[in-house]
Symmetry: C2
Subunit: 459 residues, 2 copies
Amino acid sequence: MNDVIDFINMNRDRFVDELKEYLAIPSISALPAHVEDVRRCAEWTADEMRRIGVPEVELIETPGHPIVYGQWLGAEGAPTVLFYGHYDVQPVDPLDLWESPPFEATIRNGEIYARGAADDKGQVFMHLKAMEACLSRGERLPVNIKVVLEGEEEIGSVHLDSFIREQKERLAADVLVISDSPMFDRGVPSICYALRGLTYYQIDLRGTTQDLHSGSFGGAVANPAFVLAQVLSQMKDRSGRIKVPGFYDDVRVLSDDERVEFEKLPFNEKHYRQEIGAPRLFGEKGYSTLERVSARPTFEVNGLSSGFIGEGAKTVIPALAMAKVSMRLVPDQRPDKITKLFEDYLKKVTPKTVALKITRMSGGLPWITEFSHPFVQATARAIERGFGRRPIFTREGGSIPVVSTFQEVLGLPAVLFGVGLPDENAHAPNERLDLGNFHNGVISAACLYDEISRVGRLR
Amino acid sequence: MNDVIDFINMNRDRFVDELKEYLAIPSISALPAHVEDVRRCAEWTADEMRRIGVPEVELIETPGHPIVYGQWLGAEGAPTVLFYGHYDVQPVDPLDLWESPPFEATIRNGEIYARGAADDKGQVFMHLKAMEACLSRGERLPVNIKVVLEGEEEIGSVHLDSFIREQKERLAADVLVISDSPMFDRGVPSICYALRGLTYYQIDLRGTTQDLHSGSFGGAVANPAFVLAQVLSQMKDRSGRIKVPGFYDDVRVLSDDERVEFEKLPFNEKHYRQEIGAPRLFGEKGYSTLERVSARPTFEVNGLSSGFIGEGAKTVIPALAMAKVSMRLVPDQRPDKITKLFEDYLKKVTPKTVALKITRMSGGLPWITEFSHPFVQATARAIERGFGRRPIFTREGGSIPVVSTFQEVLGLPAVLFGVGLPDENAHAPNERLDLGNFHNGVISAACLYDEISRVGRLR
């Protein structure tokens, strides 16, 4: 590996020059005007993969933007890494807030500013450069590699799901690697080993055909806005615990080891509270804030609407009241089962004075690859080699649906090894990537293949 | 009185012709284009009063439309009736739904169709014709009469309140008479002897500075939309009883006599429920629907707003949640005291995890003149003489703020004797007044002065 690392160090500047070229292509998947740019970016990516020595590369067409696929399967008996990333980027509005043009990558204070620098072209390129380093030294990688780069991540991975399901055999691998997330904090490399799932509903209550005058009719009928309040208030107790019967049955208990890791995370609760402007923090008893936002399920009201909400006073009994509600789920909860439990409970607590309609909106499975998993630990060693510091282990509160899809269809463990920073403006003006992290990331990625090969195939 | 009634019967057609003339003036107070029409209508009203023999008539200017004031004080020692009405009318949109032009009064099936026919020109004119009948026979009325007709009722009686307060001595009287409400039902003459009051608030809860992503932050903080649901659900128990401590302390208990009257009212609960389209009726235990909508206080949520309410799903923890809430009050509750009780309770049940803001929006006193009051019973006898049927006694669930103002400032008992019908479209296209009710109303009004004079002065 010393040769590989030497190569990376010697080619550091060239890598950045090439990255600039990659970042210059405005591959904005959301805007029809950029369809050809997205394709050009796919072709550039494919050409680059061929150039660095990936032998089997192709553009796989979808009804939308193409998927770039490449594989190198020369490491017989070694594990196969499935690397997933995306070459499309977010739109750049509002353009006038950019300090340098979003598609002319500009370096300031050791950071490269451009749309896609962190999300996700920079991190994809980091892996390509790691592969290049390995392949240029001995023309081989320590593991087999399959690369899937989509062009629709920023528009909801519209066609990826069916691609994965259709290409299930072709994509078979031992571990999924994704670099599309930030590290915990500046100078704090991290591995995310779990994500929450989601299930989302709209609740509509109808009391009467039309809004009624509260003078003439107040007292005659149940008020659906008040009933909605009653119903929603039944969802959690005062300590923040969700009251839907059976809701917690499948929640995987936080292990002592995990809780020790949580305690290690650098976190200033007061600063956090002030940042978001809350009078105080609040949540389920018995868990720290970081545990609550990532390792515990939630019930949230996302929206409320009923009756008169303009300026002043209108004495109306609303005919309708609506709430959007959602639950973040953790392993091993499943959206379908939770939906059944939730709907049953909702029907039970809603009085017969109003008509109830429940609409399921969207959902996604939670995901976990225990941090004790050999490939996760291999990733930790690789990051330590690249960054000179052992990473911390985190769970994320949000969802990355594609991770769950890969896990569900291919049955893969996954490692989320991101080198972005939380403040690098992934979807905002002045997106950037720290070039030190990029460089350490290239080394870490190369070491990751090495470490995974040392673990060997697990099945 | 037989002479008077004969006069009314003989002049029936002429009265209607004159009413047509009155209804032809488009005295729409809300529309600046009709300012001159409103004044012309005030002048027409004043001229008419002079013509029928009211000696002291004047237009009293306000910063808005003028008040028409007239008095006849020739009945020394007899009670003084203060008659209040309004000569302004609602706008007529949508015009294309009118079957005949709103300001060309047209008679169809014994009903006169025009804007203002029921609300309130027709009912004002009914009293003027009753006065004319009395004054034409012996040139005297059995009571002293003071007439206050405003031109701003349909725009919230903007300047009436200060007029009443400033002219307190001039307006001194023994009883207030208003004919600006519908009777209970066709063929069911009625006297309204109580109105509910109102107190209205906006509640704003703030959780954080901005909306938060429910994935990243879900579990860290209280969700103000959920807290709002919790808080609102604390306002009433499951039986519909308001939980604000002390809320019922000043509620005047329904007497057995009143409840007997309520039971007499013709009311089909099933038909009522179907009309408004409610799955079932609901309200405070122990009271009938009609009692609940008129003689019992309420708590209503008039509006709810928070977070994301568009199509689809957005995983947001709202920064803000807002509710509009109001309470209908009954005698002897007072808005100021209820406000104190409500605000104290609201502060108590709102957790410290959110910032609470309460804004008081509007309010009004409830009003009652017990139906056993001699002047109310006098009105009942007068109506029986005019309609050949004893009226029923009702309470209304809404508010008529001016009634409370007269009561509060002048300390007057009041009788609400209306001859409109509930389906006469007071604020809608094709407003109309049944001419049989108008004619019976003129007789009843004349008899009312007679009956009041027989009761005599009470203080």
